[in-house]
């Protein structure tokens, strides 16, 4: 197991170095300039050039890259060109906010899909199964930001039950309940696709397993249906886990539109705004952070997979 972990961690290093180089080059090759976000559009080139020089953006790319890497290795991600604050703080806060939302969405989607998927597999012809199917298809086919706007229209504007913007009420106590209230709508909007994908996946996995011989044997032995379910779920777990890991990464990195619609101060929004303003330090470090998280999550999923299924370790 330790070998497996070490191998995966070592492999992570070249992957991440590759990511840094690609991100650095791509963002610099795209036309546009952070200076455009700092001075009026009609400013003269002379003014822009002075600013570019003072920001060190006139240096050769490899010098800029090495400087960034040097600082990065010392744990300093630099200062945002536009926001002037430390990138460490900006990214950490935004990442935390996205993580909170992703965890909530994941909990909603994973629990929901497990319930819907298992019911649909057990009773494929029941009303519940049809409703489950319907929810799954809705989840997959409705774009999440649009779903978010619909939820907002019903629960914020019409019913006035839940807030539609931000993470906490301004001037509120910033407590847990306040957070939960703000999280419900964006959480559901983000989680709907995952709910849809996973419900369908769990349903077909569990359905297939229910027709396996070992289930027949269990039934013949007179095992309780809850025992059978446990056995089935254990066998279905590796597949579910692999998809769940991917879905979770997507929830974390792929919710830019939902974050924009709900003004959620997350990583997606931060990076998106940074891209439109060419705030290089945030873009580079932000994407690197997402990549690190993605790779670590994959390793974690593999480890869990290996723990559950010893064949993986041997392989």
């Amino acid at each position: 197991m330790l070998n497996f972990l070490l191998k995966r961690l070592l492999l992570m290093i070249p992957t991440l170095i590759g990511v840094t180089i690609i991100v650095f080059l791509i963002i610099q090759l795209v036309p546009g300039n952070p200076v455009d976000a700092l001075v009026p559009p009609e400013s003269s080139q002379e003014v822009k050039d002075q600013l570019i020089e003072s920001l060190g953006l006139d240096q050769p790319l490899y010098v800029q890259y090495l400087k960034w890497m040097g600082d990065l290795l010392q744990g300093d991600l630099g200062r945002s060109i536009i926001k002037t604050s430390s990138v460490n703080t900006l990214l950490f806060d935004a990442f935390k906010n996205s993580l909170v939302l992703a965890l909530f969405s994941a909990a909603f989607a994973f629990i929901g899909s497990l319930i819907l998927g298992v019911i649909a597999a057990y009773k494929p012809k029941s009303i519940f199964a049809s409703i489950g199917n319907m929810i799954a298809i809705f989840g997959i086919s409705i774009p999440n930001f649009w779903g978010g706007l619909i939820l907002m229209g019903i629960f914020s504007v019409t019913l006035n039950w839940l807030p539609s913007i931000g993470m906490y009420s301004v001037g509120g106590d910033g407590g847990f309940l306040d957070l939960i209230k703000h999280m419900i709508l964006p959480g559901i909007a983000c989680g709907m696709v995952t709910l849809g994908v996973m419900t369908r996946m769990i349903r077909s996995n569990v359905y297939d397993l229910l027709n396996e011989e070992f289930v027949l044997t269990l039934k013949a032995k007179g095992a309780k249906s809850s025992t059978i379910l446990l056995h089935v779920l254990k066998n279905a777990t590796p597949g579910i886990l692999a998809i769940a890991g991917l879905q979770f990464s997507q929830l974390l990195g792929g919710s830019i539109l939902v974050e924009t619609v709900f003004s959620w101060p997350g990583l997606g929004q931060l990076i998106y705004q940074a891209i439109s303003q060419r705030d290089y330090p945030i873009i580079q470090s932000g994407i690197l952070l997402v990549a690190v998280f993605f790779v670590l999550l994959n390793i974690l999923v593999d480890l869990l997979h290996a723990a559950i299924d010893p064949r993986v370790q041997k392989g």
Binding site: N33, V35, E42, L90, V157, I165, F262
Partner: protein
């Protein structure tokens, strides 16, 4: 099995119908629920004098340095609220375009040669941290943006105001409350430029260094309280303000890049001021008691023609294009009145509008005739570049598609090329890219100072990359008038501006489309707002009941 399926389908259809009916009834009652929610928030706020919560179009909270980020929206809601300049925009009228008035300068004199400006600074003003405002504070701030050798020189702020400080050759302290500036050339309009040069507390700048920009201290009508990155910025009323004090106790800014989200936040009572809600929501908002504000201001959304291009260097073709656009339908049907037809550079009501100048009506026959006269009886093919979004550009895509349809009807076949805003600015930084066959580019501009309106856009000295004359338009008549404008005063400024407008309208270096009307919606309980004819607005007159 089939029966069961049908039963389920029936139930679901019924559920949807009921939901639809239900949502109708709730929509009707929602106006009362909305007003009750706003009134509950107002009763909460009346105890603390009212809180104005603004949904901004920017995706970020502007960094509140003396020149905030997020362009002019940053200046509107942050810069001009936290800070003052020697002059401030007079935003008290909704019937005339805003002009500068003395602020941190109480009065000023200009020498006869129009080169030496002496400013008598206002007495008794303190920064929010108690630092007194005097000539030393003024010089400190000017050094910060104009003297690269200065210890506290801030390159970003300097770049932000370079367009306005470029006229100044030197500045000096005369006594504790008098400073003097000498311009590089005779220039009678420096007061317009100085509205952008804002002053921060020297004590705070020295103490905080780079962190000043996130802990700003000015002299403005509001004091900085708190900035929560990505979420909100809170400002509180400055009870010691030298001018008219604000009525609301707090202004809270919330960044909301999505128009539908701003609309929802307004309707649910989470904000009581929404910038630019979707124009299609105007009628429904009004019917629910929300206040819709629209007012023209010095702004124009044009296509700037490439004067180096064979087709567009021909004045007749440019005029033909201008006669081909049905601006009234564009403004009313497509934008629900959120814009005003731009029949020329200035809008009627602006003191620089010239009613005797060429104004472009919708006349497709004339357009076709002009095109034929120009030697293109069978029409022309060309490419226009548009941004996805970007400061002041309104809704570039639907507007351009409409223009494309109008132009096609007279034989001008336009291919639209869409660029991201920052990429577009870079591509057109030095004007139209060499060797490109682009015929025009859409970039909006503010025409709120005489120099910005004419010199920046149409002078030969303003060919990009120096200024905003991206199409490299030039006309000796305009050059002569610019020189007169720079040294004119009083009514003469208006006279020469009108003359310049007439020449430019007739030359048609731009395809004039629309003047923005700054659509915003306010909750019913927000009172006392006067929508100035300016990109900037005065928040001090507002109360939340």
């Amino acid at each position: 099995m089939k029966t069961k399926f049908r039963f389920v389908t029936l139930i679901l259809v019924l559920a949807f119908v009921l939901q639809a009916c239900g949502s109708n009834t709730t929509t009707n009652s929602s106006s009362s629920s909305t007003s009750s929610s706003t009134s509950s928030s107002s009763s909460e706020s009346s105890s603390n004098d009212g809180v104005l919560t603004i949904a901004m179009t920017a995706g970020n909270i502007p960094v509140p340095n003396t020149i905030p980020t997020e362009g002019s929206e940053g200046l509107r809601f942050v810069g001009f609220q936290l800070y003052d300049g020697l002059f401030r925009w007079d935003l008290s009228s909704d019937t005339e375009a805003a002009v500068p008035k003395p602020a941190l300068a109480e009065s000023y004199e200009v020498s006869e040669d129009l080169m030496t400006w002496t400013f008598n600074l206002r007495h008794g003003v303190t920064f929010h941290d108690g630092t007194p405002w005097d000539a030393d504070a003024a010089i400190f701030n000017l050094d910060r943006v104009m003297n690269p050798e200065f210890e506290y020189y801030d390159a970003k702020s300097a770049g932000g105001v370079a367009n306005y400080t470029k006229w100044i050759a030197s500045y000096s302290k005369i006594n504790d409350f008098t400073i003097q500036m000498v311009t590089k050339e005779p220039y009678s309009l420096l007061n317009w430029e100085l509205t952008w040069v804002l002053f921060g507390s020297p004590t705070a700048i020295k103490e905080l260094g780079a962190d000043f920009s996130t802990n700003p201290v000015g002299t403005g009508p509001f004091k900085f309280v708190e900035l929560k990155e990505g979420q909100s910025m809170t400002m509180a009323r400055n009870d010691e303000y030298w001018g008219d004090k604000a009525k609301v106790s707090k202004v809270i800014l919330r960044p909301m890049a999505d128009a539908a989200s701003r609309l929802a936040a307004l309707q649910s009572g989470e904000v009581n001021w929404a910038e630019l809600p979707p124009p299609e929501a105007i009628a429904s908002l009004e019917s629910r008691g929300f206040q819709i504000y629209l007012n023209a201001y010095p702004h124009v959304l044009p296509f700037m023609f490439n004067m180096q291009n064979d087709i567009w260097s021909n004045k007749l073709v440019r005029q033909a294009a201008n006669y081909a656009i049905d601006r009234a339908t564009l403004a009313e049907s497509l934008l629900n009145g959120a814009g005003e037809p731009a029949t020329g550079l200035m809008y009627p009501g602006q003191s620089w509008y010239n009613s005797e100048a060429t104004q472009y009506s919708y006349d497709p026959e004339k357009a076709k005739a002009l095109l034929a006269e120009a030697g293109y009886p069978n029409g022309v093919d060309t490419t226009f570049v548009i941004p996805i979004a970007g400061s002041g550009n309104m809704w570039p895509q639907p507007i351009s598609e409409y223009v494309q349809k109008n132009l096609a009807e007279v034989g001008i076949n336009v291919k639209l090329e869409v660029m991201e805003w920052s990429a577009l600015l870079e591509t057109f930084a030095s004007g139209f890219p060499e060797g490109s066959d682009y015929g025009a580019v859409m970039i909006s501009t503010g025409t709120y100072t005489p120099i910005r309106a004419i010199d920046y856009n149409f002078a030969e000295s303003a060919f990009s990359p120096v200024g905003n004359n991206r199409g490299k338009y030039t006309n000796p008549e305009v050059e002569a008038l610019i020189n007169q404008i720079k040294t004119a005063s009083g009514d003469d400024v208006d006279k020469y501006m009108q003359q310049a407008t007439a020449v430019i309208n007739d030359d048609a270096p731009w395809l004039f489309l629309l003047h923005d009307k700054n659509l915003r919606a306010l909750a019913p309980n927000v009172k006392g707002f006067v929508m100035a004819q300016s990109w900037f607005q005065d928040l001090t007159t507002i109360s939340v009941e």
